[in-house]
């Protein structure tokens, strides 16, 4: 190869040229990603808001010596929103994963009508989240279809006030999320599943492994990377859960379904304390970055064992 033949001097020359050629793009990327981050960091240590009459670059005049961060640490509403977000995530992501995996396993084999079911199954993912929000808002009305179905099953009128009960509202919101995002999990996991080498599965079968043993000893280990990717995508996305939920409950009743995103939205649009919002957002970014780094570490470890 040419790199092996190149002298160190030549390689340096190449690296310098490469740097010069990519410099404009690098500056652009830096501007797009670093600038907002720095701006956010800057504003987060001030009391600045758009109503303060100052340009954001003059926010230093409202420097509040990290009061936003100390406030945040003591903000009960923030912590309970964070807790709620984590609860939603801990319920929804595993549910989506298990349902998606079960469906993917089902769809890895052929059965009559597979193509139709496949399309139907992917539909929730295509629905605009706001529309899904309205859909579930209607479904969960006390006179809505969900209660109608429950009435038919129970044999008597059921009038559960889903969206006005703190616990039930959270459950309804989680059901909507699971409905909408299981298909994505299914799709990713199906891609992983069909990528498992068939002859290794056959070899395992010939060696006497039963279906469950094949699944745990061959299929799951081979799917490790893709499972981590799927989980990472959903954990990060689910953490930001907003549109469907906001339309269904608006974070209510009270603050019963107020997740981090809803809380930030409210503080931004209602309280208009943008310096504080910037501080919250940075805190969330740090948390999600830790999740992402962890996922990437897992992936790197899994990749040492290619399929």
């Amino acid at each position: 190869m040419s790199t092996a033949l190149a002298t160190p001097a030549l390689r340096d020359e190449g690296a310098r040229l490469g740097f010069r050629l990519t410099l404009p793009a690098q500056i652009l990327v830096l501007f797009i990603s670093a600038f907002p981050l720095l701006m956010q960091l800057y504003i987060s240590v001030t009391d600045w808001s758009p109503l303060s009459g100052l340009g954001w670059w003059n926010a230093w005049e409202m420097w509040n010596s990290f009061a936003n961060y100390t406030d945040l640490a003591a903000d009960g509403r923030f912590w309970s929103a964070l807790k709620r977000t984590v609860i939603v995530m801990v319920v929804c992501v595993p549910a989506e994963f298990l349902l998606g995996l079960a469906l993917a396993t089902l769809f890895a084999d052929d059965f009559p009508g597979k193509r139709i079911f496949y399309s139907i199954l992917l539909m929730p993912m295509m629905v605009v989240p706001a529309v899904a929000g309205y859909m579930f808002f209607m479904l969960f009305q006390s006179g809505g279809p969900v209660n109608d179905i429950l009435s038919a099953i129970m044999g008597g009128p059921v009038t559960i006030a889903w969206l006005s009960d703190p616990t039930l509202a959270l459950i309804a919101v989680m059901i909507a999320d699971i409905w909408q995002w299981t298909p994505l999990m299914f799709l990713i996991l199906l891609a992983g599943l069909v990528g498992v080498p068939q002859d290794q599965i056959k070899a395992a079968t010939l060696l006497g492994a039963n279906p469950w043993q094949r699944f745990t000893s061959i299929v799951l280990p081979k799917m490790k990377t893709i499972i981590i990717i799927a989980l990472a995508i959903r954990v990060i996305e689910n953490f930001k859960i907003f549109d469907t939920l906001y339309i269904m409950t608006g974070g209510g009743p009270g603050v019963a379904t107020e997740t981090i995103s809803v809380y930030i939205y409210k503080v931004t649009t209602q309280d208009l304390i943008w310096g504080y919002v910037a501080a919250i957002a940075l805190a969330i970014l740090v948390v999600l970055s830790i999740v992402a780094v962890f996922a990437m570490k897992c992936m790197a470890r899994a990749r040492q064992v290619p399929a």
Binding site: D199, Q200, A204, L206, A209, V305
Partner: protein, 363 residues
């Protein structure tokens, strides 16, 4: 160990018939090669023996035992896949232990069996190596060991050498043959490579278009092909076949090849079988049996091409529609355009019925 009996085996996939009425007896401890071009039904046959596919009709017996409805995990069949299908996410040890572990053997028992098989296959120093970090001959040994640890009655090998480069294939063939002697198991080996079949197998079953063409030892198949397909398929290059009609001459029965003239007289036994026949026949002889002979005693044709491949020289002769290849041990000094006269020794001539393609039996 177990014999395999295939009786009236048929396999169709929708309209496509992969296998038409196959009957084959494979003896206990025999190394049988299923040889044929791709799509000949050899892999289908093997998959049915393994239980990966159910025959459309017919029976498969292992010894006395009918295999109908026996799932593939319970047939006692060891299967070596084309690419070995080693579990790449496991170590060699875990690969070898897989079968016993899945059947719930005790850990001490597993360790003992893995140790024994690793010793036999010289895998002991590699036991903790990951499955994706193995060279191809190690893969072959692990694949065989992983099956052998289950003490299968039958070993099936699906073109295991097709992904190996030519130089290494010879090493692998030797190793495989030695392993078979060691285990003394019935082995069925699917291949499209006649060299593999000829060098390793006790007997070869030649297949084409879902039909078994001939079963015999490598030399039987080479010397006495049952039909035109086998004659052309076995041997590199395949047998020369020239169309003509039997005709009487003053030196005995010959084949009149039309514009090419007449062949040297046929040996007495073939002449006896052919005398009185009027239909077209194919006059056949192996390129490596062709010898240069004086004028008028053989087939005179111009040289169209000469391949010198070191140990041998392949001379292509052609005249009109007819083509003959002759293989010589030495460079015979022929060049393109020159006329050569070649003839096989009478004993190595084979004649086939042009209409049916079947060999004319020396009577």
């Amino acid at each position: 160990m177990s014999a395999i009996h295939l009786q009236n085996l048929v396999k169709t996939f929708g309209d496509f018939t992969a296998l038409k009425t196959m009957d084959l007896e494979i003896a206990d401890g025999e190394f049988m090669a299923l040889l044929g071009p791709s799509g000949c039904g050899k892999s289908t046959t093997m998959n049915m023996i393994a239980g990966m596919e159910e025959p459309t009709s017919g029976r498969i017996l292992f010894g006395e035992r009918n295999m109908a409805g026996v799932p593939m995990g319970r047939r006692g069949v060891g299967f070596v896949f084309q690419n070995y299908a080693i579990f790449t996410h496991m170590t060699v040890r875990q690969n070898l232990a897989y079968g016993p572990r899945m059947r719930g053997a005790a850990q001490a028992e597993i360790d003992r069996r893995v140790g024994a098989i690793a010793e036999m296959l010289q895998l002991t120093p590699l036991l903790d190596r990951k499955g994706d970090r193995l060279s191809v001959n190690i893969l072959q040994r692990v694949a065989i060991g992983r099956s052998a640890i289950m003490e299968p009655a039958i070993f099936l090998l699906d073109e295991p050498l097709s992904n190996v480069d030519a130089a290494f294939r010879a090493v692998m063939r030797t190793e495989l043959k030695q392993l078979q002697r060691q285990f003394r198991q019935t082995m069925v080996y699917v291949t499209h490579d006649q060299l593999e079949a000829m060098t390793m197998a006790d007997r070869i079953a030649v297949m084409d278009h879902g039909v078994l063409q001939q079963v015999g030892t490598p030399l039987e198949v080479y010397n006495n092909p049952a039909n035109v397909f086998v004659a052309r398929f076995i041997g590199a290059p395949g047998m020369n076949l020239l169309k003509g009609r039997p005709a009487e001459s003053d030196r005995g029965l010959v084949v009149d090849l039309g514009p090419l003239g007449i062949t040297p007289p046929l040996p007495d036994d073939l002449a006896a079988a052919l005398r009185g026949a009027r239909g077209e026949v194919l006059y056949g002889f192996r390129p490596e049996h062709a010898a240069l002979v004086p004028d008028r005693q053989g087939l005179a044709m111009p040289v169209s091409f000469v391949e010198r491949i070191g140990a041998r020289t392949i001379v292509h002769l052609s005249e009109g529609e007819s083509a003959v290849k002759a293989v010589f041990e030495n460079d015979v000094g022929l060049s393109i355009g020159q006329k050569a006269v070649v003839a096989p020794p009478a004993s190595s001539v084979r004649v086939f019925d042009a209409a049916t393609g079947l060999a004319v039996k020396a009577g």
